[in-house]
C-alpha cells in the first residue's frame, strides 16, 4: 500500500498508519473488520483539507465504516445556528466522508445500529463513548483512535498492533466494589452516569473492574451512561463489570484478575458526583432539558414514553431536546415511541448533538440533563449552567418550568 500500488490516496493513509505504529512502538500492523469515524465533526480547514485530499487522490474505505455526529442536522435545516463561514465547510466535510465510502450514520452510538462488532474483533473506532462501549460491552478491541487516523485505518484496513488490541493490556488494574449500592438506586440511567463520574475520577486511564452489581439491573443504556461519563471525567477506554461484560464473564476465576487494588463505591460518592456535575443550584428557573447524549436508543424512547404517561405538556418556557440517530428515530417512530414526547413539546435533533454545535437559543441558560457527558462538556462548550438529575427529575422539572429534585432517588 505504501508504494502506491493501491493508489496515492491509500498510500497517504498508509503513511499515517505506519507513522502511528512508530509513535506507539508497534512492530507490526493487524487487520480490522470495521471503523467508526469522528473526523467528520468540523474543527477547521485542516480537517476538511485532509478528507478532501484523500478523496481527491481516489481513496475509499476498505472495511464497513460508520460516521460519528457532524456539526449539522441535515433532517431539520435551520435548527443549527452555525454562521455560514462554519456551516458551509462543515457540510463539505460531511460530503467528503461520504465520498470516501463511509455510511451516513451520523451517530455517536454506532453500537445501537443493526450491525455491530462482535466479541474479539479488532476494529478502529473513534469517539470516546463509542470506544469504551465497544471495548467493554461488546468485547471488541479498539485503541483510542481519533482525528485523521480513524479514516486512515478505514482506508487501509490496518492498525498498529498496540494498546487495547493486545489481550495483556485488557486486564483490569483496579477493583471498584459497588456492593453497597442498593439495586433500587441503580434503576436510573443518571445514577449510572454518576457512577461513571466516580469510576472515571478513580481510574484515570486505568481499567476498572466493577464488582457487586446485580447483572439483572445492568442493561445497555445504563452501561452506555456509565462508560460515556467515565470517558469524560477520566480517560477510561475499557471497563469490566463482574458477571455482566463479556470479558469479565469469561475471566471468572482467572488469577490475573485477582489481588488488584480495591476501593468501595458508596451512595454518598454518587450524590457528591451528582452535585459536582451541576453548576446551578436546585432552585434555579429552568430553560431546557437535554436528553440523548450519547444518542437515545429505541429502548430509551420506550422508557421515556412510559415515564410520560399521566404527565402534562412541558412548560412553554422549557424546551426538551432529544438527540438521536436517524436510524433509531425511524424505528422508534414506527413503534409509536416518539409521539408522546413530541406531543408534549419535545424537539428532536439528529445527525449532531446539542452540546457540540449551537442549537440552544440565547435565552436557554440553565439546562437540566440526566447525561453525565452533557453535564461535563456543555458548560465549557456552550457557556450554560447545568443541573444534573434523573430522567424523572428532568421530566418533573420540564413540566414545572423550574428545577424539581427528588432526593429519594439518590438514597
Amino acid at each position: 500500500m505504501l508504494d502506491g500500488g493501491r493508489g496515492p490516496g491509500t498510500a497517504m493513509a498508509m503513511r499515517m498508519v505506519v507513522a502511528l505504529a512508530g509513535v506507539l512502538g508497534a512492530e507490526r500492523l493487524i487487520p480490522i473488520t470495521g471503523a467508526h469515524i469522528d473526523s467528520c465533526l468540523y474543527h477547521g480547514q485542516a480537517g476538511l483539507d485532509f478528507a478532501q485530499r484523500l478523496a481527491g487522490l481516489g481513496a475509499a474505505v476498505a472495511v464497513p465504516t460508520t460516521l460519528n455526529v457532524s456539526s449539522l442536522d441535515l433532517m431539520h435545516p435551520g435548527l443549527v445556528r452555525l454562521p455560514p463561514a462554519d456551516a458551509v465547510p462543515a457540510r463539505a466535510l460531511m460530503d467528503a466522508y461520504r465520498a470516501l465510502g463511509a455510511r451516513a450514520t451520523w451517530t455517536c452510538a454506532p453500537y445501537q445500529l443493526a450491525q455491530r462488532p462482535a466479541l474479539g474483533e479488532d476494529i478502529a473506532w473513534a469517539e470516546s463513548n463509542a470506544i469504551v462501549f465497544a471495548n467493554s460491552v461488546l468485547g471488541a478491541r479498539t485503541e483510542r483512535y481519533g482525528d485523521f487516523i480513524d479514516i486512515c485505518a478505514a482506508i487501509t484496513g490496518r492498525v498498529p498492533h498496540a494498546g487495547l488490541h493486545l489481550p495483556e493490556h485488557r486486564v483490569p488494574t483496579l477493583v471498584l466494589d459497588c456492593s453497597a449500592l442498593p439495586a433500587a438506586l441503580l434503576a436510573e440511567e443518571a445514577v449510572w452516569a454518576a457512577l461513571g463520574d466516580v469510576v472515571g475520577r478513580r481510574s484515570g486511564t486505568g481499567i476498572p473492574l466493577l464488582t457487586g452489581i446485580d447483572p439483572a439491573v445492568a442493561d445497555e443504556d445504563r452501561l452506555k451512561a456509565l462508560g460515556a461519563t467515565a470517558a469524560s471525567s477520566g480517560g477510561v477506554a475499557l471497563f469490566h463489570v463482574a458477571g455482566v461484560t463479556p470479558e469479565a464473564v469469561a475471566a471468572a476465576g482467572d488469577p490475573a484478575w485477582s489481588a488488584l487494588p480495591a476501593a468501595a463505591v458508596t451512595t454518598g460518592m454518587l450524590r457528591a458526583a451528582r452535585d459536582e456535575l451541576s453548576t446551578a443550584g436546585p432552585s434555579a428557573p429552568l430553560d431546557a432539558v437535554a436528553l440523548g447524549t450519547p444518542h437515545f436508543s429505541v429502548r430509551e424512547f420506550g422508557k421515556l414514553a412510559a415515564a410520560l404517561e399521566g404527565r402534562p405538556a412541558f412548560h412553554p418556557g422549557c424546551t426538551v431536546w432529544i438527540n438521536t440517530s436517524r436510524e433509531v428515530l425511524a424505528q422508534a417512530r414506527e413503534a409509536g415511541l416518539v409521539q408522546p414526547a413530541e406531543e408534549r413539546g419535545a424537539r428532536i435533533v439528529v445527525d449532531t448533538c446539542t452540546y457540540i454545535t449551537p442549537i440552544l437559543g440565547p435565552e436557554e441558560r440553565t439546562v437540566m440533563t440526566p447525561s453525565g457527558k452533557w453535564a461535563w462538556y456543555a458548560p465549557m462548550n456552550l457557556g450554560v449552567d447545568v443541573v444534573f438529575g434523573t430522567l424523572s427529575e428532568c421530566l418533573d422539572s420540564a413540566c414545572a418550568g423550574k428545577v424539581v429534585r427528588d432526593d429519594g432517588q439518590w438514597n
Partner: protein, 167 residues
C-alpha cells in the same frame, strides 16, 4: 550527550522522533497537560483553558515542553489547524508517546509540508528543560528516529514579555 545525527553538532538533549521535522523558538514549559481542543483557540493559538496554569499564553512559534496532551482526540485536528494557520508551536517535546499530538503534526506535514517536530524525551531531560522556560531552543527530529534539542546559551534577550509565565 548524544549526537543528534543531524547537522548542527551535538545535541544538548537527545530524544526519539515521533514526527520528523525541525524548528526553533522560545521554550514554553507547560506545568500541566493541555487539551488543544477546548483548551486552545484554533484561530490564534492562545491557551484559553481558564483552569490551566499557562492560561493566556500563546503556542505560536514556541517550543512546547509538556508531559502529554489531555482529553479529546479532536485535539489532533486543532493542532493541525493551528499549524496550517501559522499559529501553532514550532516544536513539541513530550515525555509520553502521545498519539494525539503526533497525529496532528503528521497530518499537517502531509497536507502542507510544514514539518513541526514532535520529540519524545526522557523525564530527566524534560525536567532540566523545564527549568529553562523562555530560552531559545532548536529542535531537529530525523526520519531515522533520532532527535535532539540544542539550547541557545545566550540569554533569551529580545523576547516579548510573557507576564503570565514564571521568570
Amino acid at each position: 550527550m548524544t549526537d543528534s545525527g543531524t547537522e548542527g553538532g551535538p545535541a544538548d538533549f537527545a530524544g526519539r522522533t515521533l514526527c520528523p521535522g525541525g524548528g526553533s523558538g522560545a521554550l514554553l514549559v507547560l506545568s500541566e497537560p493541555l487539551s488543544f481542543w477546548g483548551g486552545t483557540d484554533r484561530k490564534t493559538g492562545l491557551i484559553i483553558d481558564a483552569h490551566h496554569p499557562q492560561h493566556g499564553g500563546s503556542l505560536a512559534g514556541r517550543v512546547l515542553v509538556m508531559a502529554a496532551s489531555r482529553g479529546s482526540s479532536s485535539s489532533s485536528s486543532v493542532l493541525a489547524e493551528q499549524i496550517r494557520a501559522g499559529v501553532g508551536p514550532a516544536a513539541v517535546l513530550l515525555t509520553a508517546r502521545d498519539a494525539i499530538v503526533a497525529l496532528g503534526a503528521l497530518a499537517a506535514a502531509e497536507l502542507y509540508g510544514t514539518h513541526v517536530p514532535v520529540v519524545l524525551l526522557d523525564a530527566g531531560a524534560s525536567s532540566r528543560l523545564g527549568r529553562r522556560n523562555g530560552a531559545t531552543a532548536t529542535v531537529r527530529a530525523g526520519a531515522d528516529g533520532r532527535a535532539g534539542v540544542v539550547l541557545d546559551q545566550a540569554p533569551a534577550a529580545g523576547l516579548p514579555p510573557r507576564s503570565r509565565e514564571p521568570a
